[in-house]
């Protein structure tokens, strides 16, 4: 948690950095070079040597996508490119684009909210209450309050019902790991045989969760457990169980996914 404050003094996360790099050159959008952006991004990443692992992961995930985009552009022709890889990259790119736009939207809103706050900060509300002439009128809020009631109030305040919300601060965040997703999907897909990416991600609200499932699908494809096919660009991806694949022992290493 400290990492947010300490490790990234300039950039509030990978989107912030990427937006900054791209928009810095917005003046001449037709001359923007992906290579420059990617190199600059990696250079910034290198500067963050004391980056904490959790923050670094976010930055690295974006870096991986960027590098893949750059690599693809440097390829001489498309003949050698596998269509599935190509489509996966398109999807990743679109996702990145969508997230950048959403991030930028709220950055701009925040600027307006800041002016609201600045204006409101120059205004002081009266919160004085009735003067002593009305002290007789005011009902005695503590009427009937006993030591016993006070104790009950305190105990009630610290009962587990409340700790529910307390625990927020202490439990480790829910993390979706690729390995977990693979484990889950292996069972699901093996059971139904044929399915689609959309079907596997219905009901998921967290975008991160969808991304992780996507990575998991790619991993399973790489290991030969499933076949993937996408008829149209942006279309649904069909997922087919092959029933074969490498041994389960490699699954433990999935989390250190190399993108």
């Amino acid at each position: 948690m400290v990492a947010i404050d300490v490790a990234t003094p300039v950039y509030e996360g990978p989107f912030d950095l990427l937006l900054h790099l791209i928009l810095r050159e917005e003046v001449d959008i037709h001359e923007i070079s992906l290579s420059t952006i990617v190199d600059a991004y990696l250079a910034e990443l290198l500067k963050m040597q004391e980056l904490d692992l959790e923050v670094a992961t976010e930055f690295l995930l974006i870096a991986a996508t960027l590098i893949e985009l750059k690599t693809r552009r440097l390829l001489p022709g498309r003949e050698a490119v596998d269509l599935d890889d190509e489509l996966a990259l398109w999807e990743e790119r679109d996702l990145l684009l969508a997230r950048l736009l959403e991030c930028k939207t709220f950055k701009d809103v925040a600027k307006i909210l800041a002016t609201f706050v600045d204006d409101a900060d120059r205004v002081y509300g009266r919160a004085v209450g009735p003067d002593e002439r009305f002290s007789e009128v005011a009902p005695d809020l503590l009427e009937g309050l006993t030591i016993e009631k006070l104790e009950r109030g305190f105990i009630s305040a610290i009962t587990p019902r409340k700790r529910d919300e307390l625990s927020l601060y202490h439990i480790s965040p829910i993390r979706f790991t690729v390995a977990e997703a693979v484990e889950e999907l292996m069972e699901d897909i093996a059971r139904v045989g044929n399915t689609s990416f959309r079907a596997l991600t219905t009901g998921l609200v967290e975008r991160l969760e969808i991304v992780v499932r996507f990575l998991a699908i790619l991993e399973m494809y790489k290991q030969g457990f499933i076949e993937l096919d996408q008829v149209d660009r942006f279309g649904d991806i069909t997922v087919q169980w092959t029933g074969i694949g490498t041994g389960n022992e490699s699954m433990a290493e999935i989390d250190s996914y190399e993108g």
Partner: protein, 201 residues
């Protein structure tokens, strides 16, 4: 002032708002004075204008769903000199961005916020919760039963607005076409021309 509103009603509103600890909801005033809520808002808005025209050092303003007396923004330097602990806690850019996301997308989970900002909002959320600008409002129905966050009355006061409806429309902040183009061009997969990938490889 509207003809059917007595001077006494107007004066009573001034008196009630003066002794309140926090913004007085329109409905409460309406109920106490036995007049329609719309009339209350009309009278208060008119009163606010009168004060402004008369050049008073105070204002009547609708904040966080109710009416309150507050100092005129012009006079902040004097008021701050008077209130010794007048320094307001400033909100960081990260805090404001997180607040903006929560304000527009509430109820929203921490992970959803993280996905928009690209960083874990944990520490920022704690600060905002500590200052009571946001609070847990419900729980997600999903497997994790994630806590969902929303903004508070105090958030409205901090922004000096009467309700969430006073926030600017989010649509007006969606990045314009040139920016979208800039992002898209930068993240193009192919350098020269975009053509459909060859079918059925």
């Amino acid at each position: 002032m509207k003809d059917d509103v007595t001077t006494e009603t107007v004066r009573a509103i001034e008196a009630i708002v003066l002794v309140a600890h926090e913004p007085v909801p329109t409905d409460l005033i309406a109920q106490l004075l036995e007049i329609p809520a719309t009339t209350v808002d009309e009278v208060c808005a008119r009163l606010a204008e009168t004060y402004e025209e008369a050049g008073h050092g105070f204002q009547l303003a609708k904040v966080a769903g109710g009416w309150r007396f507050q100092t005129h923004p012009d006079l902040a330097p004097y008021v701050e000199r008077f209130i010794l602990d007048g320094q307001r806690a400033r909100l960081s850019g990260a805090a404001l961005e997180t607040l903006a996301i929560i304000a527009y997308k509430q109820p929203i989970s921490r992970l959803q916020i993280a996905s928009i900002r690209g960083v874990d909002p944990d520490s920022v959320l704690r600060t905002l919760h500590g200052r009571a600008y946001v609070a847990p409002v419900s729980r997600d129905n999903g497997p994790g039963q994630a806590v969902l966050w929303g903004t508070t009355q105090l958030f409205l006061e901090k922004l000096g607005i009467a309700s969430l409806k006073d926030l600017p429309a989010i649509a007006s902040f969606v990045p314009d076409a040139s920016l979208v183009e800039a992002l898209e061009k930068t993240l193009l997969i192919e350098a020269d021309s975009i053509s459909e990938p060859s079918e059925g490889a």
